[in-house]
């Protein structure tokens, strides 16, 4: 079983700081150690402003650490150029955002097709078919030609999930995916995300405040003032 668990992302003593307008350094992440393997379902909890999104950006190659080592599929991230990171991100990582971030003026199908514009030849030429398959998988094939503003919040997030998964990413990063949904819809969306991630053996890393989301995770971490520490599900407030 462990042989199947390939290390996707590895962070060792990673820090991330930014310089404030008054020239002071703000240390957002401090000495983060984390490994994400294929098939992992990991939840990261923490208060607002504790650095959760910054951590997610590092995991998704949207940002680079100030210090420490970040390896993505065994490659040191700091040795990858912007374009190499973009290509690796496109082929390996799928993002699900709290505010869905669907592109306005485009149908659900066009939104799901968008990542396939940056795919290789075979995926690009089959983009419509692949996108329809993924919409079918999230139960929205019938609404493929509907504009986002005509979809409910839950439906929009399902379109966003279909868009994140259409290139079969090995790592799914979800930034408070239920944050803009009611409890019931949030649960169904998370169940869908969890199921699809399990089916495709993708790793799922979710940043959340929602204990229902934490309950679906196999591992949980707390991020507090930039420091990441393991957390049991019970500590996270999830009843057994």
């Amino acid at each position: 079983m462990d042989q199947l668990k390939e290390t996707l992302v590895s962070l060792r003593s990673v820090t991330r700081s930014v310089t404030l307008p008054d020239e002071q350094q703000l240390h957002i992440l401090k000495g983060i150690d984390l490994e994400v393997h294929s098939g992992d379902h990991t939840a990261i909890v923490g208060r607002s402003g504790c650095g959760k999104s910054t951590l997610l950006n590092l995991l998704g190659l949207l940002d680079v650490p100030t210090s420490g080592e970040l390896e993505f599929l065994g490659q040191p991230a700091d040795r990858l150029g912007n374009n190499a990171r973009a290509r690796l991100r496109g082929s390996t990582v799928g993002f699900v955002f709290q505010q869905f971030n669907l592109l306005p003026g485009r149908t659900a199908l066009d939104n799901v097709i968008t990542p396939l514009f940056y795919a290789n030849g075979r995926e690009f030429w089959r983009r419509r078919e692949l996108a329809m398959d993924m919409l079918d998988r999230v139960g929205l094939a019938a609404r493929a030609n509907t504009m986002p503003n005509m979809l409910s919040g839950g439906e929009q997030q399902r379109v966003a999930i279909a868009r994140a998964l259409v290139r079969r990413p090995r790592l799914i990063l979800a930034d408070e995916p239920t944050g803009a949904l009611d409890v019931e819809t949030g649960q169904s969306v998370m169940a869908l995300l969890d199921t699809v991630a399990t089916e495709t053996a993708a790793a799922l890393v979710t940043i959340t405040h929602d204990t229902n989301v934490v309950a679906l995770a196999r591992a949980c971490y707390r991020l507090d003032a930039g420091v990441l520490s393991p957390l049991t599900l019970a500590e996270a407030g999830v009843s057994a």
């Binding site: 999104s53 940002d63 496109g90 514009f117 940056y118 290789n120 290139r167």
Partner: protein, 393 residues
């Protein structure tokens, strides 16, 4: 290959989705291109009109006029011999005598003085004589017993507008009354112009017309004009010592292109119009990119490289302005080729030239260039967008 095609497909999709906004932005570019192309097209038409009018007056490029003046009139027979010799020596095939005189013609309302121009056949070619009816003189017209005349429209009207296929005749009154045959009609040079007519040198001699002043014109290639002017002048001075004899260029282009400064000013105005269109396009593109910051961030999160974002934003602009360029050029063709515009811009032309292809290419090329420039700056802004900030925008 897939990368190029996917970039084009993506750009086209963006155009399709944002068609209303882009349509508004492109109207300015299309109108600018139409203005630029129209200005160049109208400029070319006006230039052609001016050229034709000038060549009718002074002769085609390059026309040389030979003159010999001195204390006593030179022997006409010798002059004629020298002229023939010059033509043979330099292989000049198109030439004409040109003399002015007056003759009375018998019209239904009485005898009317007519301004006569005594010419050779070559005059029609050298001065691009336009014809409303009939034909210019042919080689055998000099042998006619009743001399042929090509008349102005005022003359033709006074003669009662006879049908030329019936070979209508008019009587030249005077000491030696003669009958002439009207073979062609040319337009009046200006409104309410008195009647005028052309007659061949042979016909004039037959009817006893004596030119009050005469000159001899040669049509030569523009490249050889300067060399021939010097050589012929030297020849004339050698043949007529003590006389002021010389060859001069008399066509409109003798002192350079008189329309070049006008063309430069018009071109500058057209460029300014296009620049205004480009600034409008750039302005809208900049606003659009700011509006699309989040979208760009989202695309980056899905793997779009900075190069791809740059090309994508620029291609949208280039594809759109190319379409606007085609629309602008079509509008310009419709304007420039409108019969009313043609008749006002080039009233001297009887056949209008085709729409200049260089003006169409200039308009289209300018549109694409504007698209590339107006797209490049927003594309640079788009590339510099920080993905994390953009997604939260």
């Amino acid at each position: 290959m897939t990368g190029v095609i996917s970039t084009l497909v993506e750009a086209w999709q963006e155009l399709r989705i944002n068609k209303v906004r882009i349509l508004l932005a492109l109207m300015g570019v299309a109108l600018s291109v139409a203005a630029l192309t129209s200005v160049v097209g109208v400029g070319n038409l006006a230039r052609e009109g001016y050229k034709v009018q000038s060549e009718r007056n002074g002769g085609r490029v390059a026309t040389l006029a030979l003159s010999i003046n001195g204390p006593t009139p030179p022997d006409p027979a010798k002059i004629e011999k020298v002229y023939q010799g010059i033509q043979q020596r330099y292989g000049i095939t198109t030439s004409t005598h040109m003399g002015q005189t007056q003759a009375g013609f018998q019209f239904p309302r009485g005898v009317t003085p007519v301004s006569m121009t005594i010419v050779d056949i070559g005059y029609g070619t050298i001065h691009r004589v336009p014809l409303l009816q009939g034909s210019w003189f042919a080689a055998d017209d000099g042998q006619r017993l009743a001399p042929a005349v090509v008349v102005s429209e005022a003359f033709y009207n006074q003669a009662g507008r006879p049908n030329l296929t019936t070979h209508p005749t008019v009587t030249i009154s005077g000491d030696q009354p003669a009958t002439a045959v009207i073979i062609g009609v040319v337009p009046d040079v200006y409104p309410d112009m008195p009647p005028a007519a052309f007659i061949l040198t042979e016909g004039a001699a037959m009817t006893g017309m004596q030119p009050q002043m005469s000159e001899f014109k040669l049509w030569v290639g523009e490249e050889q004009a300067d060399a021939l002017t010097a050589a012929i002048t030297a020849d004339l001075q050698g043949q007529f010592p003590g006389y002021y004899a010389q060859a001069n260029r008399v066509d409109y282009a003798a002192w350079g292109d008189p329309l070049a400064p006008v063309q430069l000013v018009v071109g500058g105005v057209a460029g300014l119009v296009l620049l205004l269109g480009a600034v409008g396009m750039l302005n809208i593109s900049m606003v659009t990119v700011r509006y699309r910051v989040r979208e760009i961030g989202i695309r980056r999160s899905f793997g779009a490289t900075s190069g791809r974002i740059f090309v994508g934003v620029m291609m949208e602009s280039v594809v759109a302005t190319a379409v606007a360029g085609i629309a602008g050029v079509m509008l310009a063709v419709a304007v420039v080729k409108h019969p009313w515009i043609e008749s006002k811009v080039a009233p001297g032309l009887t056949e209008y030239p085709a729409f200049p292809i260089d003006a169409a290419l200039l308009g289209f090329g300018a549109a694409v260039l504007v698209g590339a420039l107006a797209g490049a700056i927003p594309a640079l802004v788009a590339v510099r967008v920080k993905v994390i900030d953009a997604i939260r925008f």
